[in-house]
Amino acid sequence: MSVSAAAANYLGEGSGPRAWLLTTDHKRVAWLYLVSLTAFFFLGGAFAVLIRIELATPAGDLVSDDVYNRLFSLHGIIMVWFFLVPSIPATLGNFLLPLMIGARDLAFPRLNLASWYVFIFGSFFALFSVVAGGVDTGWTFYTPLSTLYANGFVSSAALGVFIVGFSTIMTGINFIVTVHTLRAPGLTWFRLPIFVWTMYATALVMVLATPVLAASLILIVLERVFGIGIFNPRLGGDPLLFQHLFWFYSHPAVYIMILPGMGVVSEVLPCFSRRPLFGYKAVALSSMAIAVFGFLVWGHHMFVSGQSAYAGVVFSFLSFCVAIPSAIKVFNWSLTLRKGEISFETSMLYALFFLALFTFGGLAGLFLAALAIDEHVHDTYFVVAHFHYIMVGGMVTAYMAGLHFWWPKLTGRMYSETWGRIAATVTFLGFNLTFFPQYVLGFLGMPRRYHTYPPEFQFWHVLSSGGAVVLAIGYLLPLFYLTWSLFRGARAPDNPWQATGLEWQTSSPPPPHNFETMPVVTRPAYAYDMKGLEHERFSPHLEAGQ
């Protein structure tokens, strides 16, 4: 264990609201985000639980149709923009990016803090919508429903998302500049950990795509308030234009949401396999390929919208192309395990579950990219299952993997491995029970966003609702044992997993400016096969004094 005194770490640098709320330390800003995002995650999750309880029976007996529509709209809006988009970048990314490249902070520390305040400011608008009476447009804000017909608090929700977009852009710019300018001596691009590559790719998408979302949301508000008519056919506008604008952002946004997760598992899998990441360059470059191709596939959300069938053919082709880099990554992650020394700590379990769930979600994506199949399953539960497998089974599972992997670095504490493994397994089982039946429902023709449904679908809905309860337990468990570990957990050593990244070479928790001496990098990333790393690995039982 490190001898650097407890007072010399970033957590000891002043306490009280002022020291936290006015901090420019990227590690503390990460905590500000972590706490706010956790609150939003459980708020969005509570809406989801209510949705699943309502759907346990075919009739609409728990809530009215208007309330149900608000539940799924708010669930989507909160989960996408107030949890998933910022999730890994704003928390783990904020904390780790400077540490991983041997920097003292992000390039613009004050911009980083400002991004959190912008995030909170925007979230007030969204929360106002929740409290004032909800939004009933779905998270997609399709026109003319959102502009002319919806009676919820659409404008404040749209403004909230619009404002939060600026915080995303700020984070993106900060990350891009940081990666370009603050890498430690010797840390060339192809020595960067994949997590840094994916943060970089994510940041590019954030900066390039979010302005388009901002433009389309402002147009929604202008159209709602002033009736400018850009999406109104009676005034010469076109409702489909909104879908083009919206998906031009929102499809790349899917990659904002999944690339960071890919980065996390690319760190975790090699560490617990004691092997270098298989095909490092292919994984790094496929992250960039995903970021670029992700901008060219938005029309696959519009195959049956009235868009020309031949435009559909082009978008289908490009969508199959974007599947390739993801497939390459899956193969590389799998091969990383080969001839390793594999152990199954909590974060490794989460990473392996990510691999399974991401694969099952990604394969379903092939069905949706295939035009004739999409015509049948578009706007059904098949789509719902697909994106939850990617966004929740993929991204949230990776987020949990990362949170457990770097928790000792974030907090200087170890959590209970036993509870961690239980939570990971419960989450995996609950997730599949919740969402696998939805694939079947979608193939059967069950449309999404239905408050009531024909009784023959009930069997699958009951399975799904039961799974949601299990899943909720899986997500609540870490809230308790991680919080408990903050106060009672064993002190963490500097490098409990014997991992190779630079972040593990400083103390746990790190000092205020990350490194006592400027690190110099002489190895490639993931040098698990090189000599000089054979230390004792952390044993929680010994450290806890049992």
Partner: protein
Amino acid sequence: MSFGIPFFPQQASSAAGSVDALFYTLLAFAIALGLSLTFLVVGYAVKYRVGSPAGRTGERARSLPLELTWTIASLVIAFIFFGWGAVLFVRRDHPPPNAIEIAGLGKQWMWEFRHPGGQREINELHVPVGRAVVVSLASQDVIHSFFVPAFRVKQDAVPGRTTHVWFIATEPGRYHLFCAQYCGTQHSEMGGWVTAMAPEQYASWLESQGEGETLAASGEKLFQALGCSGCHGNSSKVRAPSLAGIFGRPVALANQQTVIADERYLRDSILVPNKEIAAGYEPVMPSFDGLVDEGELQMLLAYLKSLSPREPAKNEAVR
């Protein structure tokens, strides 16, 4: 079906079998790949667990031949499924000739259908088995989506334009009709049933509904009532283009461009007449926006189409 639990959707249209063939092939591929990866990862996890006796010599963290192989294999497989799906899909644009054309109108929260003979039904659609049916879709308010799972067809109804979906029912029966695009409060109530019937039963059903006037005839009455015929009629004093045979024909515009007079053009010319002025005419036509609703617009379009001899320039009917 087993124990009343549905696993597969019914197949009741000419497209269902071919779409399902693609679906099940892709499913078989996905299961095969998913299972192989699962066996691989679980196998590695067991074989190379910490402290296992398995040999670890000769390990490599890269292999160009292997990486090239799986990249190329993925590309080839992806392109096969892309092509298969695309070929089935572009059939949407090519309904068989002599299809029955039914006008479908979506509005919050119901579907209204009108048969060529003028028979009108709400949230019910009767169609004959074995004959192609084109439903031309419009929306009175927000975007809706016409979805019949048993037929494997879906098409959004978008305000401000006409879209089409076609199918040939193959099995008599009653099938769910859903609205698939979220459309507001009672979205989940917006649906009903499609009843596919043997042709002779369909004929007698049509008869039992009473032979109303055809859509085109209703359109012609509107054409008179709204005063369209005053200018577009043969004996008119104001110089306006004749509409005989207009549908599907190219129209020269004042701005030197040429457009095909499809449903989009005709609809816009009624609602936003100054958008595309026919060459050689003054822009004097008033807008009928607000004077005709979507249902009346469908009647007018049916009438204008009826002025053209059958089968205009091929395929233009469904653009």
